[in-house]
C-alpha cells in the first residue's frame, strides 16, 4: 500500500496523460472519421475509393505499426513531429478515425430509405432531409458502436507507453523493479486507473443499447 502512496504523483500524472490522450484522440478521430464517412458516401467514385482505401488500410494494420510509422517513419520523410506525445496522438487519431467512419456509415445505412424518400417527396431540400430526418435517426444507431470505439481508444492509448509517452501503463514499466507485493499494488493502481474510465463508459453504452432495443 505504501508504495502506492509514495508513487501517487506519478500515478496521477499517468492517469491524466491517459485521459488527455483519449479525449483529444476521440475528438480528432470523430472529426476525421466524419470527413472519411462523407468521402465514402459521396457520389464521386474516386473520393469513394480514397475513403475505402484509407479505411481498409488502417483497419488491417496493427496500431503498433501505425505508432511506429508516426514515431520513426515520419522523420524519414522529413515530416517529424516535435514530440512523441504528438506522434502518439496522431497515430491514435488516424487509427480510430477508420472505425469511427465505419460506425457512422453503418448508422446512415441503417436509416430506412423510405424515410428519406418521404422527406424528399414532401419537397425538403437536401440539407433538411439530412438534418431533420436522416441524421437524428442515424445518431441513435451510431451511439453504441461509437461508445465501444471510445472504450477501445482508452485501452489503445496504453500502447503509447511503449513510445515514450508517460501514461498509466508506462508507470507500471517504470516501477517494474520492485518486489512482488509492491508490483501487485502498483498493477492494481494502474488497473483501477483504467477501470475508472472504461467501466462507467461500458455501463453507459449498455444502458443506451437497452434503451435502443426497447425503441425498436
Amino acid at each position: 500500500m505504501s508504495v502506492l502512496i509514495d508513487n501517487l504523483p506519478l500515478l496521477l500524472r499517468g492517469f491524466w496523460m491517459t485521459l488527455v490522450l483519449s479525449v483529444l484522440g476521440a475528438l480528432g478521430a470523430v472529426v476525421l472519421g466524419t470527413l472519411l464517412a462523407a468521402l465514402r458516401v459521396s457520389p464521386s467514385a474516386p473520393l469513394r475509393g480514397l475513403g475505402y482505401l484509407y479505411v481498409e488500410l488502417l483497419r488491417n494494420t496493427p496500431l503498433t505499426v501505425v505508432f511506429f510509422f508516426m514515431a520513426f517513419g515520419l522523420p524519414q520523410l522529413d515530416l517529424a513531429l516535435p514530440n512523441f506525445f504528438l506522434s502518439g496522438l496522431l497515430a491514435l487519431v488516424l487509427y480510430t478515425s477508420a472505425f469511427v467512419c465505419e460506425a457512422i456509415r453503418s448508422g446512415i445505412n441503417a436509416v430506412p430509405p423510405g424515410q428519406a424518400e418521404a422527406a424528399r417527396a414532401l419537397g425538403m431540400p437536401f440539407g433538411q432531409v439530412i438534418g431533420q430526418v436522416v441524421l437524428p435517426q442515424a445518431v441513435r444507431t451510431v451511439i453504441p458502436p461509437l461508445g465501444n470505439v471510445w472504450i477501445a481508444l482508452v485501452k489503445n492509448s496504453s500502447i503509447a507507453s511503449a513510445f515514450a509517452v508517460t501514461e498509466l501503463t508506462a508507470v507500471l514499466t517504470r516501477l517494474s523493479n520492485q518486489t512482488a507485493g509492491a508490483l501487485v499494488a502498483i498493477g492494481a493502481g494502474v488497473t483501477i486507473g483504467y477501470l475508472i474510465i472504461t467501466l462507467p463508459s461500458g455501463y453507459v453504452v449498455s444502458r443506451f443499447e437497452r434503451r435502443l432495443a426497447v425503441l425498436r
Binding site: 505499426v65 520523410l77 428519406a116 488497473t191
Partner: protein, 290 residues
C-alpha cells in the same frame, strides 16, 4: 435506385456528379503525386533500398518469413485456448446458479475492461518477481488468452442467446437436463452462427500479436525493428512498409474468409433457428466485439 442520401439523379444532378467525380479524380491524383514526390525527394523510392527486401542473400525474406510464422503460431495457439476458455466462461455466465454466474461475470467484465498491453506487461513483469521465469512468448500468449477469452465469452453468450426460444423450450419439454440442452441444442447452433465473428476476432488477435514487440518476442514487428537496427536507418521506411504490407495482406485474407463464411452461413439450413448477426465492423486493435 434511391438511397438514404440521394434520389435518382436527374440531368442536373448527373452533371453535378460528373463534376464532383472529375474534381475527386484530380484530388486523388494530386495526393498520389504529392506522396510520390515527397518519397522521391527523400530517396525512398530508390531501387536498391527496396531490393534488400527481396534478395535472399541478405537473409531478409527468410527473417520476415520466420517472423510471420512465429506471429501465426502465437495467434493460432492463443485463438484455440481463448475459444475453449471463452466457451466455458459463456456457459458459466448463463448458469442458473448465482455462485457460478456472479464470479464469472466479474472475471469477464474485468478482462474486457483492462488494456491488453497491461495484461501482457503484468504477466511479463509480475511472474518473474514471484520466482517463475516466463518467456516473452508465454507472457504474450497469456495476456492474449486472458483478454480474448473474455471477448469470445461475450461473443458466445450473444450467440447462445440468439437461438430461438422454441429450440430450448422443446428440448426442456423432452426432459433434457440443462447441460444436455446446452451441449446438444444451443452450443452447436450458436457456434455455427457465430463462426464468421470468430474468424473476424482472429484478425483482431493477429493485430494484437504486434504487442509482442513490447515484451521482446520476435514476432513480425520486432523482427522488422531488428532489421532496421541491423541494416541502418536508411532502410527503416522500407522495412516498416514491408511489415505493414504483410499484416494487411494476412488480415485482408482472413477477413475475406470471414465474409465468405458469413455468406454461406446465411444460406445454411442448420442456422435457421438463430438470429442473424452482423460481422463486427468496429473491432479495434485491443479487441472489441460489438
Amino acid at each position: 435506385m434511391t438511397s438514404v442520401l440521394y434520389d435518382v439523379p436527374g440531368p442536373r444532378a448527373r452533371a453535378r456528379n460528373r463534376m464532383l467525380t472529375a474534381i475527386g479524380a484530380v484530388v486523388v491524383l494530386g495526393l498520389v503525386a504529392l506522396a510520390l514526390w515527397r518519397l522521391s525527394v527523400n530517396d525512398q523510392l530508390d531501387g536498391d533500398r527496396w531490393s534488400v527486401l527481396f534478395d535472399p542473400r541478405t537473409d531478409v525474406p527468410q527473417a520476415i518469413g520466420n517472423a510471420l510464422v512465429r506471429t501465426l503460431r502465437v495467434a493460432v495457439l492463443g485463438m484455440i485456448a481463448a475459444t475453449v476458455l471463452g466457451a466455458l466462461l459463456a456457459i458459466g455466465r448463463l448458469s442458473d446458479r448465482a455462485w457460478v454466474r456472479r464470479p464469472v461475470t466479474v472475471v469477464v467484465e474485468f478482462f474486457r475492461a483492462v488494456p491488453l498491453l497491461l495484461l501482457i506487461l503484468f504477466s511479463f513483469i509480475f511472474l518473474p518477481a514471484l520466482g517463475t521465469p516466463i518467456s516473452p512468448f508465454a507472457a504474450l500468449l497469456l495476456g492474449l488468452v486472458l483478454y480474448n477469452m473474455a471477448v469470445l465469452a461475450e461473443i458466445f453468450r450473444s450467440g447462445i442467446l440468439s437461438v430461438d426460444r422454441g429450440q430450448w423450450e422443446s428440448a426442456y419439454a423432452l426432459g433434457m437436463s440443462k447441460s444436455q440442452v446446452m451441449t446438444t441444442v444451443l452450443l452447436p447452433q450458436a457456434v455455427r452462427r457465430m463462426l464468421p465473428v470468430l474468424i473476424a476476432q482472429l484478425v483482431v488477435l493477429l493485430k494484437d500479436t504486434s504487442l509482442g514487440y513490447i515484451v521482446t518476442y520476435s514476432e513480425l514487428l520486432r523482427t522488422s525493428r531488428g532489421l532496421v537496427e541491423f541494416f541502418g536507418n536508411t532502410y527503416s521506411f522500407q522495412f516498416y512498409v514491408a511489415a505493414a504490407i504483410v499484416y494487411i495482406a494476412v488480415n485482408v485474407l482472413i477477413s475475406s474468409i470471414a465474409r465468405l463464411v458469413e455468406r454461406r452461413t446465411r444460406k445454411n439450413r442448420k442456422v435457421k433457428a438463430t438470429a442473424p448477426v452482423a460481422l463486427p465492423d468496429t473491432p479495434t486493435a485491443t479487441g472489441q466485439a460489438v
